[in-house]
């Protein structure tokens, strides 16, 4: 399906550039694409945000509905993260059940939200064991121009910060803003030869030798990591990337916090 010759020529070119410290789009190796966040993009959701990371576009809609707590966590609400990589977003889409890419995307975003304890699920419990809020974080990928993960978590956290608990609609108390306690940010790197570059485009992802996503919180902790794709990182690489992720994380947290 993919044109293998083109892929190989592109891979060689991307690699040659990386050796010279350069990238296809002229960015520096540790430079993010421009980020634009539009909270409240969709009014039918209880919270929403459109995130544009260069040409990559991810829309997140949050819906809050009454539900039942899981039997093993009777005092907690339920958080469900789902990602749809729809065929509109990329020529590489394949029909069928949710792709493994969309499953990994939703799980990595979900893991960061949970590990950072971004939402206090105990506060989403209404009646222990009986009634709680279910918080659906639905990610809709509109343009997959690379690094969906970082854009998706930015969209999810912006949408959660934008969300209201619709108590009045469901006659469960007043409608109040959803509390967001922590703000995890994911930063993704790929290896191209010996270069470790941040925020890869899809061309860079297609030709990389390993990808590493690092989620940090505002206290400087690492809360989640995911190495994926074929390739490898030394422990030394990982620590270097953690240091870089902490810097990017702080900058993006600042951006979310100042976007209205």
């Amino acid at each position: 399906m993919t044109n293998e010759v083109t892929t190989e020529i592109l891979a060689t070119h991307v690699l040659d550039l990386a050796k010279a410290g350069k990238r296809l789009d002229g960015r520096g190796l540790d430079e993010l694409r421009p980020v634009r966040i539009t909270p409240g993009y969709v009014t039918s959701a209880d919270g929403s945000a459109l995130v544009e990371l260069g040409d990559t576009k991810v829309l997140c809609g949050v819906k809050l509905e009454p539900g039942t707590p899981f039997p093993d966590t009777p005092n907690a609400g339920v958080l469900t993260t789902n990602a749809e990589i729809v065929p509109l977003s990329s020529p590489e889409y394949e029909p069928g059940p949710p792709s493994i890419q969309s499953i990994e995307l939703s799980r990595v975003v979900d893991r960061a939200i949970r590990a950072a304890e971004a939402i206090d699920l105990a506060k989403l419990c209404v009646t222990p064991g009986e009634k709680c809020w279910t918080c659906f974080v639905d990610l809709h990928v509109l343009d997959d121009s690379g690094n969906l993960t970082d854009a998706a978590l930015l969209a999810a956290m912006s949408a959660l910060k934008n969300a209201k608990l619709p108590g009045e609609r469901f006659e469960i108390g007043p409608t109040v803003p959803l509390e967001v306690n922590h703000l995890p940010i994911e930063t993704t790197f790929v290896r191209i030869g010996d270069a470790l570059i941040v925020d890869p485009t899809c061309e860079e992802e297609d030709t990389c030798q390993g990808r590493l996503t690092i989620a940090t919180d505002e206290a400087g902790n690492v809360v989640a990591m995911q190495k994926s794709m074929v390739g490898a990182f030394s422990p030394h690489d990982v620590i270097e990337l953690v240091d870089r992720a902490l810097v990017h994380g702080d900058r993006l947290r600042e951006l979310i916090n100042t976007t209205k």
């Binding site: 399906m1 039918s44 040409d55 576009k57 829309l59 819906k63 729809v86 977003s89 020529p91 809709h140």
Partner: protein, 251 residues
């Protein structure tokens, strides 16, 4: 259409014949179209129409998957209309339900009616519509967006395809229903026009209308489509004019 046991039916027309949002019976909701909004797609368009937000992308002509669907004498048109889970009041389970599958079929057939599919044998043309925010009329909004996305993709067509619904509310025919009008009205007739031929390529109906009401409804719909057609053309002109940043817009 007047669901059984529903309560609190709102007043759809006031004493002055104005509709819930202040429109007259022949008025469209505000409509904005922007072409070329996505990077990866061959062509794309975004439509904001009243409180609807709809994105469309076109891919191809390209190889057919699965291969056995390939046709030797024409391109296969694959159309998918999908609603985001958060596009409606009550969260919708992700994925295509039966309604979305039916709409995908009739939109795909409507658009294939203006495409020169014989020029691209053994290929597929993928038309993908995502409803991001819904407030009645999303199949028409999707068709309008997809038609512009096809033009943006440079795929030869005999014409652009505008679309709009006409309904009956409080006993009167009204153009371009919004959600309350659709839920509590008496009938709904979505249609899509090929302006150059004056023919309809999409036409559905549900409710009660006499033959003569239907005739009037189609007249109103055709006039509405002609206005939308101008906005579609403006969106494409803006896309290709250097200074263009906006797209087409109504009102």
């Amino acid at each position: 259409m007047g669901s059984v046991g529903a309560k609190d039916v709102p007043e759809l027309l006031d004493a002055h014949g104005k509709r819930i949002d202040g429109r007259g019976l022949h008025d469209l909701r505000p409509l904005k179209i922007e072409a070329g909004v996505l990077q990866r797609a061959t062509g794309s368009a975004f439509v904001e129409w009243g409180e609807n937000k709809v994105m469309a992308a076109v891919y191809g002509p390209r190889e057919v998957h699965p291969r056995h669907m390939q046709q030797n004498t024409k391109a296969v048109v694959q159309c998918r209309y999908n609603m985001a889970s958060f596009s409606v009041d009550e969260r919708k389970r992700p994925g295509l339900d039966r309604r979305s599958q039916e709409i995908s079929k009739v939109i795909g057939e409507a658009l294939e009616s203006v495409l020169f599919v014989e020029e691209f044998p053994k290929t597929s043309i993928g038309i993908y519509i995502e409803v991001l925010q819904a407030n009645a009329g999303t199949r028409c909004a999707g068709l309008v967006a997809a038609s512009v996305a096809l033009a943006d993709a440079g795929i030869p067509m005999s014409d652009l395809v505008p679309a709009v619904a006409v309904g009956k509310i409080a006993g009167k025919l009204a153009l371009d229903l919004r959600k309350e009008e659709d839920n509590y009205g008496e009938s709904d007739v979505p249609m899509a026009l090929v302006p150059r031929s004056g023919r309809l390529v999409l036409l559905q109906m549900e409710g009660h209308m006499t033959r003569d009401e239907l005739k009037t409804a189609m007249d109103m719909g055709v006039k509405g489509c002609e206005k939308i057609y101008e906005i579609q053309k403006a969106a494409l002109r803006n896309r290709y004019s250097l200074g263009g940043n906006g797209g087409g817009e109504a009102q």
